[in-house]
């Protein structure tokens, strides 16, 4: 069953086409990776699918609900971990979860149990009463993923889940993502620009370049399409996304870079 379908999904920012006629389908239970260089439009796609950004044209559905006309139904069945830092540092880990449990209408009698379930799944039970601003980067990410799991989402959107994490924390988050799919049957839609990570985790990947899908398939398929012995996903990426470094950017790039760096610094 297709749980995400996009049909000629397009988003413009002035002259810039951040997402250009995107048509992809994601199967239920898949870990789907959206890869691409900075500014390829990955975050724009995630923002449209999570109803944060209306498309300029085209349409998409998540779990059968149209992202524009049934946005509130979409919000009910998804989980979302933004690329930026989204746990509130001035609250404890438990409070961060409690607020979202309430916003997701989890019934009062189930709330405590649901929170403890995600805390233990994320191995955060001992720290749950500490303020999040005293957490390490890896703990914050785990808390954010815990937060997004509270409503047992059918689709979990993870925007650069391992950005700014050290290799150990990155490995832990990677394992959690696989566990989430295996134990909760959630479909995972993630973006990353770490190729080894995508190779390891994702069932299928789409490589985005300049707002378009340049290649789509399982990591093995894409590697064999290049046809050379010992091809890595990184070679595939370079092949499709172009080896040339971008020669120009605009103010958005600057803003994005500033934010990404800041997030990385806070997590690191």
């Amino acid at each position: 069953m297709k749980i995400i379908e996009t049909n000629a999904l397009t988003r413009r920012f002035g002259d810039l086409i951040a997402c250009n006629n995107l048509t992809i389908a994601v199967e239920q239970g898949e870990i789907f990776g959206l890869l691409g260089p900075n500014g390829a439009g990955k975050t724009t796609v995630i923002k449209m699918l999570t109803t944060l950004l209306p498309p300029t044209s085209g349409n998409a559905s998540v779990a059968g609900y149209d992202i524009v006309h049934h946005a509130s139904d979409v919000r009910r069945v998804i989980g979302y971990v933004p690329q930026l830092l989204s746990a509130d540092g001035t609250l404890t880990g438990y409070e961060n979860l409690l607020i979202f449990a309430k916003l997701y209408d989890i019934p009062h009698r189930e709330r405590k149990q649901r929170i403890h379930e995600v805390l233990s799944f994320m191995d955060l039970e001992d720290e749950s009463n500490r303020l999040v601003r005293n957490y390490s980067g890896g703990m914050i990410r785990r808390l954010e993923i815990a937060q997004s799991m509270l409503n047992r989402p059918r689709v979990l959107f993870l925007d650069e889940p391992t950005i700014g994490l050290d290799p150990l924390a990155r490995r832990a988050v990677g394992d959690l993502i696989t566990d989430l799919r295996d134990n909760y049957g959630a479909t995972i839609f993630m973006t990353t620009h770490l190729m080894e990570e995508a190779d390891l985790l994702c069932d299928r990947v789409a490589i985005m370049h300049l707002g378009k899908v340049a290649a789509l398939g399982s990591p093995a398929e894409l590697k064999s399409a290049i046809g050379k012995e010992g091809t890595t996903l990184e070679d595939v990426f370079v092949h499709f996304a172009g080896s040339k470094l971008e020669s120009e950017g605009d103010y958005r790039d600057y803003r994005e870079t500033q934010r990404t760096r800041r997030t990385a610094r806070r997590l690191g």
Binding site: L52, D88, T90, I99, R262
Partner: protein
């Protein structure tokens, strides 16, 4: 009918969750509230005591300190509310706002909850002003209904100015610009009102401005409700109606602007 009722109920519940969130934050870090309390102390103890000596300001049948106390409460409410919008700029820069917008929370509940949490902060200032007023011998009205009226007015006014502050935050988008505009706006609100002197002594053009300033109606109501011999110039009904109407309009604008913060 049932579904309309449950929609309203769910809206109110989620609004209160957002207020709860802000109260929890406040409990973990009350520094801001303590710093903000310095200002009413200065105004009442320094400015108030000196101006009370001059007897230059006609305040009718009440002393100047009595006249001033509700004005300073209104001022504290204004100041604590007007900088509340800063938090959404912060939350937007981090990414917290994105997560709220991707959750099944009505945009209106996000906007109203955020604005009303300014009310919670403002009530702490009301306690400070009440204690000060007692210390300097202001004759207060302890009628429970009047106290309730003060609480409602403080929350309503804080919601109004917080909503105003949120709108500015959504429009200017950076902390630096927000601080600048916040400073520029608070002073006219404060001085072009009846907070520290009656409107009657103002030049005619300023009287017109003051009559259009919601702070004037807030002070008017507080003066009638807080003080033993307090009276309202415009009538309590008018005061509450003006505040309620302005708040509603601003919350609607906020609701419209909120989702744009995630783009």
């Amino acid at each position: 009918m049932k579904s309309a009722f449950s929609t309203v109920l769910s809206f109110c519940r989620k609004t209160l969750v957002i207020v709860e969130l802000e109260i929890r934050k406040m409990r973990h870090d009350p520094t801001e509230l303590i710093m903000r309390a310095v200002q009413p102390v200065l105004w009442l103890l320094l400015f108030g005591e000196v101006f009370a000596q001059t007897r230059a300001i006609p305040t009718g049948n009440i002393g100047y300190l009595d006249f001033l106390a509700p004005g300073i409460l209104a001022q504290s409410v204004l100041f604590i509310a007007i900088f509340g919008g800063m938090s959404v700029i912060w939350e937007r820069d981090l990414g917290i706002i994105h997560k709220f917008l991707a959750s099944p929370t009505p945009r209106g509940a996000l906007a109203l909850g955020k604005a009303m949490s300014g009310g919670a902060r403002a009530l702490t200032q009301a306690v400070v002003v009440y204690i000060l007023a007692l210390l300097i011998g202001v004759k207060m009205n302890w009628n429970p209904l009047a106290l309730l009226g003060v609480i409602v007015m403080v929350v309503l006014a804080a919601t109004l100015f917080s909503a105003f502050s949120l709108i500015i935050a959504f429009l200017v988008r950076t902390r630096e610009r927000f601080m600048g505009i916040g400073q520029v706006l608070t002073m006219p609100f404060f001085f072009a009102s009846n907070a520290i002197y009656p409107i009657a002594i103002m030049p005619p053009w300023l009287q017109v401005v003051s009559r259009g300033n919601p702070l004037t109606y807030e002070v008017d109501a507080l003066r009638a409700l807080m003080l033993k011999n307090g009276t309202s110039v415009y009538g309590l009904g008018m005061d509450f109606a003006v505040l309620f109407l302005c708040t509603t309009i601003l919350i609607i604008i906020c609701t419209y602007l909120y989702p744009r913060a995630a783009t």
